[in-house]
Amino acid sequence: MILRTERLTLRPVAMEDWPGFAAFLASDRSRFMGGPGTDRDASWRAFAHLAGLWHLKGYGPFAVRLDGRTVGLAGAWAPMGLPEPEMAWAIWDAADEGRGLMAEAVRACLDHAWGPLRLPSLVSYIDPANLRSVRLAERLGARREPGAPVPEDGVMAWRHPDPRSEDVAA
């Protein structure tokens, strides 16, 4: 499964993404995702688990590729423990921020999730202190839903509008 946008290629995670993923998990940038962590067993398990979701669920996070390198992950995923499928994203290196790469990637993932995957709903679970992600969610049209169940303390749900049910005349 490959998605293409103007600047990006999105494909399922592959072995060549491992060093970048491990470096991201070991860095402070993973602090909103349960990191940082340097336990190799746990990091490997987290990584291989992303690949396993594709097999077990039929979809999972994409590696976001720019000019032949992976800059982060984006896509719908539904690991055990999430109340609803989540549209998730992470950009691994601060140097790749500020160019709208994730907005471009996640828009493609949203189209894919609502279209071919026909997911029933999509939320993003975000720590409100993660301002960059909150801004991106809202730029993509998601709105905070205080009553939605969340998988852990400290995050809130931003719900993505379902284009299949939107009143386009409104």
Partner: protein, 163 residues
């Protein structure tokens, strides 16, 4: 999809329906020598990681089934922080005492020599795990006396490539 068959067993990559017996095994005391008991979320992550290993590396862990369903998991894996390719086996309660681990691991080893040029495939076995050591001996492996760099509680047992 790789499927291996033996006289009594079928081995195939993990499917979603295999999770419940996998979870029950890792919630039991049987997990004490393989990283300890795992709660639901940890067990899921490991289960999905086993499935993902196939996509990432082209080989991995199989669910082992007899006529009644899943009885264990057996496979070869090679995470990047492990020095060597490893064959491993777990037998669920429903499969205990029947020689299933040996039968399944023998089939996996026969297949796995084609995956690697290595002179040996190892099994990292906890020094206290006598049941697993017995399986390793039946498979013809020997205790090298070395310890695993990633887990000093584990001895390195070596399976030699057949001539």
């Amino acid at each position: 999809m790789t499927v291996l068959t033996t006289e009594r067993l079928t081995l195939r990559p993990p499917e979603p329906g295999d999770f419940e017996p996998f979870r029950a095994f890792y919630a039991s005391d049987a997990a004490r020598y393989i990283g300890g008991r795992k709660d639901l979320a940890e067990a899921w992550r490991l289960f999905a990681a086993d499935a993902g290993h196939w996509a990432l590396k082209g080989f991995g862990w199989f669910t082992v089934l007899d006529a009644g369903g899943p009885v264990g998991s057996t496979g070869v894996h090679h995470p990047p922080h492990h020095a060597e390719i490893e064959v491993g086996w777990n037998t669920y309660e429903a499969g205990q005492g029947k020689g299933y681990a040996t039968e399944a691991a023998r089939a996996v080893l026969d297949w796995a020599w084609g995956l690697t040029d290595a002179a040996r495939i190892v099994s990292y076995i906890d020094a206290g795990n006598e049941a697993s050591q017995a399986v390793a001996r039946k498979l013809g492996a020997t205790d090298t006396g070395e310890r695993a760099a990633h887990d000093p509680d584990c001895a390195i047992w070596a399976h030699r490539r057949p001539a």
